[in-house]
Symmetry: C2
Subunit: 342 residues, 2 copies
DNA sequence: CTGAAAGCGCTTACAG
DNA sequence: CTGAAAGCGCTTACAG
């Protein structure tokens, strides 16, 4: 029995003494079958170890129940966590995840789109991946819903779920100002990414409220080495900052390591604030003050938005910004007045 | 044009003025088509934005070119890295990854198997996931090759790729003994997992070579909180260890944080050694002495083994142990004699 | 080299 | 409630 390759609905029908359509109905939720028929079929199915072929089903129904998940940067702990939560949430809704690792280059995404389309995915989630307008157009041409996770793309007409990055930047500005800092520098997230830009803009706006401007502002490119080197240069300069907002936790860890290697103390010599609140931020070695991107809410919003668009293709794209709270830990001096407008 | 839903080979055939079979041949590597025909077809295809439906192709050929990747524990940095490398390697070979998050419970894996089979995956890779004999049997019944990554399952007859865990444990024993330690404790990896057991066994054997036995040996369950608590208790006991081999880096970071929180210094008060050499182990905050699991070689071996089994289903399962070198950093006292048999 | 035809394993009107 | 039949979009012998 085990050597016959795949077992089909035909095999089950024969054994159960019913038609192949009957077998199909038993495995189609909502189809009408007599209880007795269903019982016979199920018995035969388990005896044979039968499971409907999802690929065949997908061809007919036009729904593969596969979601394409495109990710880059798995070195930043934020993404593994996101993948895990997104996968679990999708699995819970009866979807399956086809995973694609992408570099952030145009050509790469083009090629992935080909595969995504060929596998008839019902929807696409991109996590921190930039999408060209060309890709966007092909998706909507093919009628495939797409939601961007943790990255916005203004004017693209795409659904996007992010945290309130600009507001987050502003909160950090207020925290640092309230903490008595005056030379507040920013090692920003990649400025080609909306998240990097929005956080930087928020910081600038927040500092402006206090009549300040960033002491320095350099792109860290969401890259550990770059961020560490930039931090080193800042501290070696004639007027080093007394606080640095680093565009995400991933870079902030590298910055803290670099400063300590220079013999500097955090936060006594420099306050450091990150963004994301990845699990590692709470670890003793860093104890990082940061802004929490509410992972579960972002994941839920992403999955809901995507499924809503799958179920109703006429539905308009929607962008959501989820509020991101400040998490006070030990890497930044705390304001004396704990209610300093935070 | 964009509103007509999916474009099929029929549409392309019509536009190109050829038969549907001709279109198919153009997109089937190795099929014989006249250059002129191919040109016409390709022109029509690009004009229409056509791509062959992989699902339909999969049904006929019996090869989905999908690999099921089952993973747990994305909080341990070892796994995101593994997922990334495995995905890239598989993509490079023309395969696609269907990702499943699994808890390590029996029932869970059962359910996943159903989905894996339903989607007609060509092969399965499990990363640190235990498989019941039942699951094993169903795979071989269905003729689906399976390779375990970073976990062995003796007597299961399954292919497994691991590092040389026992030897790694022995190397650590020798290092610590050469470093002058005598009270060497082990916070082990989960003892239900081959990796956890083999590393522990290696340590015990290595210590025996020097006439020693583990000062203490407690299961850390590959869990941060457990490991940290165990470390605390060990240090609070009447005769605290002077060195601890922690069963993987992931737990070792938690142990170091816990010890520092107690005011202890690493390695002055206790040497700490991990296992894996995840990227984070090299970060300044931990500077962890560890054993490197050679990720790329393990990934390549896994993918090669799997594809070999897919291409030749009669091929026997194979287990591979890849040598894992000691990486000396700052968290463990170094032997005076640098050539102390390491 | 090429087209007509069969068939992969299913779902789903269509009659009964 | 149930079976026979059509058809999803392809690949692949089979003739020519």
């Amino acid at each position: 029995m085990s050597m016959t390759g795949r077992i089909t609905a035909q095999d089950v029908a024969k054994l159960a003494g019913v038609s192949q359509s009957a077998v199909s109905r038993v495995f189609t939720p909502g189809a009408s079958v007599a209880a007795a028929t269903a019982a016979k079929v199920r018995a035969a199915a388990t005896a044979l170890g039968y499971r409907p072929n999802s690929l065949a089903r997908a061809m007919i129904t036009g729904k593969s129940r596969i979601i394409g998940l495109v990710v880059a940067h798995l070195d930043n702990q934020f993404y593994p966590v996101a993948i895990e939560k997104l996968s679990v949430a999708l699995q819970a809704k009866g979807y399956h995840v086809l995973l694609f690792m992408a570099s952030n280059t145009e050509g790469e995404m083009e090629r992935l789109m080909e595969d995504l389309l060929a596998y008839q995915v019902d929807g696409i989630i991109t996590a921190s991946v930039a999408i060209s307008n060309d890709v966007t157009r092909r998706c909507s041409d093919a009628g495939i819903p797409l939601v961007m996770f943790n990255r916005g793309q203004p004017e693209s007409g795409l659904s996007a779920i992010t945290s309130a990055n600009a507001l987050g930047g502003r909160k950090i500005a207020r925290l640092l100002v309230a903490g008595g800092h005056r030379r507040i520098a920013h090692i920003s997230g990649w400025q080609e990414a909306s998240t990097g830009r929005d956080r930087a803009r928020g910081l600038v706006e927040g500092l402006a409220e206090a009549g300040l401007a960033p002491h320095a502002m350099i792109d860290g490119l969401f890259n550990r080495d770059t961020a560490a080197e930039v931090a080193r240069q800042m501290m070696l300069g004639p007027t080093p900052p007394d606080a640095i907002f680093v565009g995400n936790d991933h870079m902030a860890f590298a910055v803290i390591d670099a400063l300590r290697a220079m013999g500097l103390r955090v936060p006594e010599d420099v306050s450091i604030v990150g963004y994301d609140d990845v699990p590692m931020a709470a670890w003793g070695a860093y104890d990082l003050t940061t802004v929490r991107q509410p992972m579960m809410r972002m994941v839920e919003a992403t999955v809901e938005t995507l499924i809503a668009q799958i179920d109703d293709p006429t539905r308009a794209a929607q962008s959501l910004e989820i509020d991101a709270p400040l998490i006070l830990r030990g890497s930044a001096r705390r304001p004396e007045d704990d209610n300093a407008g935070l």
